[in-house]
């Protein structure tokens, strides 16, 4: 057996050696910082891990400690009976209404960008500025715009309509739409560019054929542009859901406590608070993270299943 391994190693030619050497650093990184923690978090989600737990003490525990430490599905049971957990899940779902809103707006923008009109390139740059702006600075800025007494939004509402606007971020009904609008504002330029890339890649011959056949603009859009853009839409929805499910910085900066009645906290906010806040429940937070991960995996898998264009996209 040992001989065989040595033989196998001898067989590696220079090319294979170079190849393996070149991919070694990312593989080490993958094992240490992703695969290792990934497996560890499964284990941790069944324990009462906190920052007091000593890794080296794990193997020297007595019976009582062991019972206290390995708690089976208790984390998950507690999680499902915690109202804040369900609220944060619900909030995360509501924020995702921003994805289709942003997509419609972005598609309109991409169609406009795709027209060869003078000056249109300047607009592309303008719409992309919020995308590259620091998320902290932008969240702090919008926190001001939403300020109940002084904020630009309410001052404008009072000037234009003569009514006093709500205190957007301190109101359980308005805080989610307020944060969602900011996210749409920040993301629309990026989505528009993704659509634009798709539009520029459409085969021109389809359009020529359609024009010769006498199809009007709306028919061309409905029968050619829209179906051919399905893979891009699919990509945007998938990345939007994976990204949206992990949103945290915006609510964290704009509503540090999670909003009135926990109405702005996202699921990752909940995990973060449990793991690094005063609760210091790291095992419990791992369990919550696993629930989130399973939701993401399932939703992504369903989408790959139902999407008619997924084969197309996968090519």
């Amino acid at each position: 057996m040992k001989n065989k391994i040595i033989n196998k190693k001898r067989k590696l030619d220079d090319e294979a050696k170079a190849g393996l050497l070149f991919i070694l650093p990312p593989i080490i990184g993958f094992l240490l910082f992703t695969a290792g923690p990934f497996l560890f978090s499964i284990f941790a989600s069944f324990t009462s891990w906190d920052s007091m737990t000593d890794l080296t003490g794990l193997f020297k525990m007595d019976e009582i400690d062991r019972e206290f430490f390995y708690i089976g599905f208790d984390n998950y049971k507690e999680l499902f009976s915690d109202g804040d957990f369900w609220r944060s899940l619900w909030n995360t779902l509501i924020y995702m209404i921003g994805i289709p809103i942003g997509m419609v707006w972005a598609f309109g923008l991409a169609l406009s960008f795709n027209k060869k009109l003078p000056g249109v390139k300047v607009y592309r740059v303008i719409y992309y500025i919020p995308v590259v702006s620091s998320i902290v600075a932008v969240s702090l800025l919008w926190k001001w715009l939403y300020n109940g007494d002084y904020g630009l939004l309410n001052q404008f509402i009072e000037w234009a309509f003569g009514v006093k606007g709500p205190n957007w971020l301190d109101n359980a009904y308005t805080v989610k739409p307020a944060i969602m609008i900011m996210c749409v504002w920040r993301g629309v330029g990026n989505t528009a560019l993704l659509y634009l890339g798709g539009l520029q890649n459409l085969p021109q011959s389809y359009y020529e054929a359609a024009v010769i056949d006498g199809a009007n603009g709306w028919t061309i859009f409905r029968k050619i542009t829209w179906p051919l853009m399905q893979p891009i839409s699919f990509f945007i929805i998938i990345t939007g859901i994976i990204g949206g499910a992990q949103m945290i910085v915006e609510p964290q900066i704009m509503t540090p406590s999670g909003g009135p009645d926990y109405s702005s906290a996202t699921i990752v906010f909940y995990i973060w608070q449990k793991a690094f806040g005063s609760a210091d429940a790291k095992g419990y937070a791992c369990a919550a993270a696993w629930v989130l991960a399973i939701i993401i995996f399932v939703v992504t898998a369903i989408q790959f299943k139902i999407s008619p264009s997924s084969d197309n996209y996968l090519e």
């Binding site: 090319e15 990312p26 923690p37 707006w105 923008l109 500025i129 620091s134 001052q155 992990q246 690094f276």
Partner: protein, 292 residues
């Protein structure tokens, strides 16, 4: 008859086109205003005095007596020191990206052009990393970093990045696969080693793609907030993004909001400048991401 019809149709189409273009510009301009008004407001507000700031919220013009001192002097006197945060962010992002780009492009070259056992498996394993939510691995990572004494140091922000960036490896692999293999073969016949091939053939040919990826990475690293906010708490080690969020919590009580907005503008500026310089390449490479 049909000719006249055609002509009439052509005329109305032309009129429709002008009208259509007008609405396109209107749609684009209204949206563009929504995009930039908050940012313009931010810049002008940063030039006001605290008193002015509270009384002239609605004005979108340069204040009559712009407080340039906010930028030249006062913002640098805040505590913790903003200049320290900027320097920290520069050190962290540059060291990570320079080493990480080298490592990632080398790995991408191996995946694109070299034959070695387990290639597909290794590549798939790395791609799978992109699917794993950060919140799953962040807690075990934190426990590991605490164990090996990396908390409150820059190591968790630098070392993993130096070992390569998965999305960069993926994009560069795609790009390098398009380079002709014959170049490599003839270099092999001339007796060049694989690293030499990477260095003198692949690297020069993939330069534009590597540069675009490195710029995108820099923008992400500079704006990163969540990870550094977990690992750092020593005021002298904070990145600029964590620092402005902490400054806000501290200085908001003193109601010196223009000064806080000045700090925020400065935190945004480096990436905005880089974006303006390279906007053509950045926009082109973002537009391609959906097509991969």
């Amino acid at each position: 008859m049909s000719n006249a019809n055609e002509l009439a149709r052509y005329g109305s189409q032309k009129r429709n086109k002008t009208l259509g273009n007008f609405f396109i510009y209107l749609f684009l301009t209204l949206g563009a205003l929504i995009m930039v008004i908050p940012l313009i407001w931010m810049f002008f507000s940063s030039l006001k005095t605290p008193g002015q700031f509270l009384t002239t919220q609605l004005s979108l013009k340069m204040p009559s007596n712009p407080q340039w001192g906010n930028y030249t002097k006062r913002v640098w006197e805040m505590d913790p020191k903003l200049q320290r945060g900027i320097l920290n962010s520069i050190i962290i992002s540059f060291s990570t990206i320079i080493v990480g780009t080298f490592v990632s492009s080398l790995a991408a070259f191996a995946y694109a052009k070299l034959r070695f056992p387990g290639k597909q498996k290794f590549f798939l394993a790395e791609l799978a990393t992109m699917m794993i939510p950060f919140s799953i691995i962040m807690i075990p990572q934190f426990i590991i970093y605490a164990r090996i004494g990396w908390l409150n140091t820059w190591a968790p922000l630098i070392i993993p990045g130096m070992l390569g960036n998965v999305s960069m490896i993926f994009f560069l692999k795609q790009y390098m696969s398009g380079l002709p293999t014959s170049m490599i073969e003839s270099a092999r016949i001339d007796g060049a080693g694989y690293f030499k091939i990477y260095w003198s053939i692949i690297l020069p040919n993939a330069k534009p793609a590597i540069a675009a990826q490195a710029i995108l990475w820099f923008m992400g690293a500079w704006n990163d907030y969540f990870a550094p906010s977990i690992y750092l708490n020593d005021p002298n080690k904070l990145t600029i993004q964590v620092m402005i969020s902490q400054l806000n919590a501290m200085y908001a009580i003193q109601t010196d909001y223009p000064l806080l907005l000045t700090a925020s503008v400065l935190a945004m500026l480096p990436v905005l400048i880089i974006f303006m310089i390279f906007q053509k390449q950045i926009i082109a490479s973002v537009a391609m991401t959906g097509l991969k």
